[in-house]
């Protein structure tokens, strides 16, 4: 098994863990953590693809840095919205946040 495959398997495990957690977690902050897990798995996969194949390593590292930076920005934005949700609903549990239906 090549090194690239190993890295990709690890990244896929992170993806599956994130998706599983996203469906199972009951709190919005927990869901945010799962999303971060997926994004960082994607970063790992990108940097592995860049280092271990003919793809330009610089470009891959640059891309991963962008992914990390934007994931951090996204986390602050999600937390800010969670604060808004918590103020308006008085709760940050997914089961309480269901007003948009018919």
């Amino acid at each position: 098994m090549s090194a690239l495959t190993l890295y990709q398997i690890v990244a896929l495990i992170l993806l599956c863990a994130g998706l599983f957690g996203l469906t199972q977690r009951r709190s919005l902050v927990g869901m945010l953590i799962c999303v971060e897990l997926m994004l960082n798995g994607a970063g790992l996969s990108i940097v592995a693809a860049a280092q271990l194949t003919d793809f330009s390593a610089t470009l891959g590292q640059l891309g991963t840095l962008f992914v990390m930076g934007l994931a951090a920005a996204e986390a602050t934005l999600v937390l800010a919205i969670v604060v808004v949700v918590a103020r308006r609903f008085g709760s940050a549990q997914t089961s309480d946040i269901t007003t948009l239906k018919e």
């Binding site: 994607a42 271990l52 891309g63 999600v78």
Partner: protein, 475 residues
Amino acid sequence: MNFDITLVVPELYFLCLVLVLMIQSLGDREWKPVVEKWLPFGAGLGFFVAIVNYGHEGLMLWDVYRVDMMSQFFKIAIAFGFFVTVINAARQPTLAEGKRSDYYMMLGFSALGLMMLSSAVELITIYLALELASYSLYAVIPLRAKNKGAAEAGVKYILFGAVATALALYGLSYIMASQHTTYIAELMHKSWTFADQPMAVVGLCLFLGGMFFKLALFPFHFWCPDVYQGASNETAAFVATLPKMGAIVILARLAVFLKPGLEITTLLAVLGALSMTYGNLAALAQTDIKRLLGFSSVAHAGYIMVGLVSGTSEGLAAAAFYALAYLVMNLLVFWVVCRVAVDGRNLKLNDLNGLYKKAPVLAFSLAAGAFALVGLPPTMGFMGKFFLITSAWDHGYNWLVITLVLNSAIAIYYYLSLFRHAFTEDKTPDLTPAPDNSWFASAGAGLLAGAVLLAGMVPAPLFNLAVEAGRSLMP
């Protein structure tokens, strides 16, 4: 790095606009002139700048940024959409007083991101531009004072959006690993069959998933009705129209790889068919107008796919033209919805009853918008569908064209129910505030309705622009 400042004048103009808004949002709330007084003029000038800059061509910034007919076409569309949504939002009743300049700053950032997206020709650049456009939208959705639904819509949108982004990034990493490049110009010459490059095909599917999310294509549509319903009417007018432009331009650029018969092309066609069928069937059952429009945009995302699978420059031209038609039609319908709901509430279909007596111009414009969304002549929606069908026929996806036609028949029911409600008597006593019948409301609705009708009767000038745009993408 061959930077030519004349090529990016529209982007620079929007950047300046956003910076001014940022300064105003940081400053004293008492600053004059208030943002609604000057921004419509600023946005109108932006539209003008985008038109003047049409026709420029060139590659910039180490070949990741390409200014061509396609990008300029969509920049004009985006600048126009921004102009209309800014005027539309100027009387927004549900926006807190202290947050007005921030609100417009976010909208401006999003429009800037979408403009950059329409010129990006490298996958990492596309990702960055897409995130610039999305993040500012995520922040705008909950800005509906004290409304629970808006907060719920905001958190759903951002979490699903982050998942779609993560999947797109996994796709990006697989494309990197197997094709060794992220430049669209080089990817164009690679093999995209599943037998040769299974990993690249999976990667491209995942990457396209990120765009499908923006476009609200089935099965990435679930955020769409919720966000439209939860966000304020004016915000929904922006979310429903402009981000789709960005997604369509990227799909058109990537569709250059997709020759008919490839696995990905078939997948796109199947998703398109499912999307229009599901969107239309789900819309039949809706009573909330914005939810109905949400499902209608899921269906329209499916229609756009018809143009992308044919693998010809005519198909791309038809998709670009339909994108423009979609933009104008939805701006028109949302304009009417925002004017009828003067207190910023969510409208039910029954709230439209008797509109023709209370505000005849709005009722007529809504009828024009509904006819255009169905695709009846002589409107822009009809010409858009006509071009889509003629471009896709005989390119291997005739079943998709037939699905489109059948779906248009289903769609008649719920679009015309908009029309039916607006032109029936109002039997219940009036408890809700009357629709805005001022010259401002009527003029905006009349002009947009005029544009929809005029572009349907004389489509050639606009369609020629779209054809130029389609040709500029094909090798």
